[in-house]
Symmetry: C2
Subunit: 330 residues, 2 copies
Amino acid sequence: MSQYDVLCIGNAIVDIIAQCDEAFLTDNGIIKGAMNLIDAERAELLYSRMGPAIEASGGSAGNTAAGIASFGGSAAYFGKVSRDHLGNIFTHDIHAQGVAFDTKPLDGTPPTARSMIFVTPDGERSMNTYLGACVELGPNDVEADKASGAKVTYFEGYLWDPPLAKEAIRLTASHAHAAGREVSMTLSDSFCVDRYRAEFLDLMRSGTIDIVFANSHEIKSLYETSSFDEALAQIRKDCKIAAVTRSEKGSVIVRGDETVVIKATEIRELVDTTGAGDLYAAGFLYGYTQGRSLKDCGDLGSLAAGLVIQQIGPRPRQNLKREAEQAGLL
Amino acid sequence: MSQYDVLCIGNAIVDIIAQCDEAFLTDNGIIKGAMNLIDAERAELLYSRMGPAIEASGGSAGNTAAGIASFGGSAAYFGKVSRDHLGNIFTHDIHAQGVAFDTKPLDGTPPTARSMIFVTPDGERSMNTYLGACVELGPNDVEADKASGAKVTYFEGYLWDPPLAKEAIRLTASHAHAAGREVSMTLSDSFCVDRYRAEFLDLMRSGTIDIVFANSHEIKSLYETSSFDEALAQIRKDCKIAAVTRSEKGSVIVRGDETVVIKATEIRELVDTTGAGDLYAAGFLYGYTQGRSLKDCGDLGSLAAGLVIQQIGPRPRQNLKREAEQAGLL
């Protein structure tokens, strides 16, 4: 049986990242801070209006897998690309990071997913995602040995957007739980929560999910409340562990009656928030699968999130193991 | 007749940028700090050994054109890409920056050029360039109106590597000089100088070139001397203006007997030297075509170079006009 610390499952996406001003978002009907789903035609239109960009492998759970590997953890990934240039880039980058990624690619149609990410001067990112090949990820892509062999399986709420991925998740979770493993998810985006609220709550309440990652907007959306404290009180009852990030206020981790408050790390210059939540989850899950305390898990998450938001792009260029050692966390 | 501040001509390249340690360069026979030419097979081998990367439009003169446009100057560009994914990226990025770029692309073969750039912990970049479509740039690609209409034409010494580009340069220079315009070049790389020393000296001494950009290694290679002062004394005689960069020592500009010494800007963190010379030329040529003093031209060059080496990638993400205004240079 294969052994991994974490198996990550997500939409396999290459990011196309450019800066823009606030007016650009308004003029183009882009919801700020959100993941906006777009079709091929709108992707072309937005690209024609986009400023000079850089390309970098992304995808929420892909970023998390890369982060775990950078900490020195062993990570595997399920996600669907096509055999095209962006697919080659995605595959190269995740392999080069040491992540096991063997999902069979499509033969070119639909093409590999891309997300046009516009970063405003305040560092906030607004994403416009054309799902492309991701719509084909399904239960046939579940590698049972990895699903059973990973200490924790982690997937994106975003996977409820393509039609078949949720079946892959349910199958993976059943393999994992049958092997005595844990399953975790990120709520991904407050609009995504709004689209799939009942299903996400059911995943949690049915015990399909053990650990939930979210930010404050997402849990407030989940429980349809404007009160963070109320949402936190509710999520305590709905899963074993919830790790909730609060931007510059750090994060809060709850497990039953236990509450652990984590500070954010100090930021020299906020450049681009892309990947913040993904890297928090990477640090947390790396610590968690090494048997660390919730406090250590949160601190490792904060460290990785703090690094990625001080650069352009969703995967930090630093070696996270070395950074954590220098910060006295490992 | 079209009117541009600067027409730039170069190898149209997309950069693939990753970090590596010093041993990686040695183990893979990569000359540190240089532009290493590679074939398709070696490109594949190196990519398979390369760490996680990001992709960004590059190409020396392309970076300069983008920089000039970012300062608010009008720039045009000649360079050859293919109709493929990297070609689309290159074309999008240079158009999005406001540069006029109309060179007819190839129909897919050879593919668009790429350079695998390895950045060592000291920030030095070592480039490995597969020229691809660039080998097809030739005199048929010279747009006479742009050649005659640009105040200054600027091209890379690197263009002596592909077989036909030098003919395009000679034709462009003759259009430019016939219209009373000036022509400039960068010596590009000390090994490139070594390959084409006699031809570069002939370009300068024959008056094909008015302004030369170089770094200290390149002029020492040009005159086969280990003495910077001796090389500087010689280049004074061989062209109207020479602007010679010296990394952290700033730059020296000579015009006949005149000598202008320019300080480097202060650097908070040296991240990646890619694009330093290209952006120095951008600042200089923007100032020069606005009728600024050599001192101002050098300061604008220093500013742009200083910004690009504090980030990953060859084109600064800042608006250079705004940066120059804030620094009191415009």
